[in-house]
Symmetry: C2
């Protein structure tokens, strides 16, 4: 056991946070956290990102109710990336209506092919859809 | 199907690339890619990152032989993050001797607790250990 300082300096105050379903192992999305959002995530037990586009804290699920309950928080060897194993509440985390954001396969010719099924209709979930867009 | 442009601009020419074991679902590590390293990854079928600390392309496994063979490449909804599902050659990808880099649990008091077992002795693998350090 050792105390660890997360290295927020390497990327301008942010670290990438991988969100993984704690049961299925599916990688659901990637967001960024600053020191305040990590502290808020740890104290609330639900994932709070830092939105780069809106330049403020962004509680995942604030408009959709699709919150991410933290089951385990991990840090990598260099302390510059986080892995958050979660229970994802609701049918999906992606604002486009999928269970996770990585629903497209990238082919070598640059074509992205959808390989997952939609799990919900985003227009029925997001009254103000832009609020829930990824950072 | 649609052609997609990866959004390298959001983070200064780089996108985070999550490396996931294609069979177990384990998240092994996170690296960054620029346009050239993504192209090299796609053409070679083995993961090439961009090292932020060394400011150059970094073929994972170049000194250890622990290369990451690409089994599937995915892109997220905003095209600013990649998920690379791989077959990881060798006993582990982490320069500290673990199967993956996320071998520590982060407790709420800032203590990091090792929760995985070492799978190899790094000193026997890395003749020049620093070359294999994460970006």
């Amino acid at each position: 056991m050792e105390s660890v300082s997360i290295d927020f300096d390497k990327a301008g105050g942010l670290v990438p946070a991988i969100i993984q379903d704690h049961r299925s192992g599916e990688v659901l999305m990637l967001g960024f956290m600053n020191s305040a959002s990590l502290a808020e995530t740890q104290s609330s037990g639900e994932v709070v990102f830092f939105s780069r586009s809106r330049n403020k804290l962004w509680k995942k699920g604030e408009s959709s109710g699709h919150v991410l309950k933290v089951r385990e928080l991990r840090v990598d060897c260099d302390a510059d990336a986080l892995l958050v194993r979660v229970e994802a509440i609701g049918p999906g985390v992606c604002h486009q209506g999928y269970r996770g954001c990585f629903f497209r396969k990238l082919e070598s010719d640059g074509v992205a092919k959808i390989i997952e099924e939609r799990t919900f209709a985003p227009e029925t979930v997001y009254s103000r859809q832009k609020q829930e867009k990824k950072a």
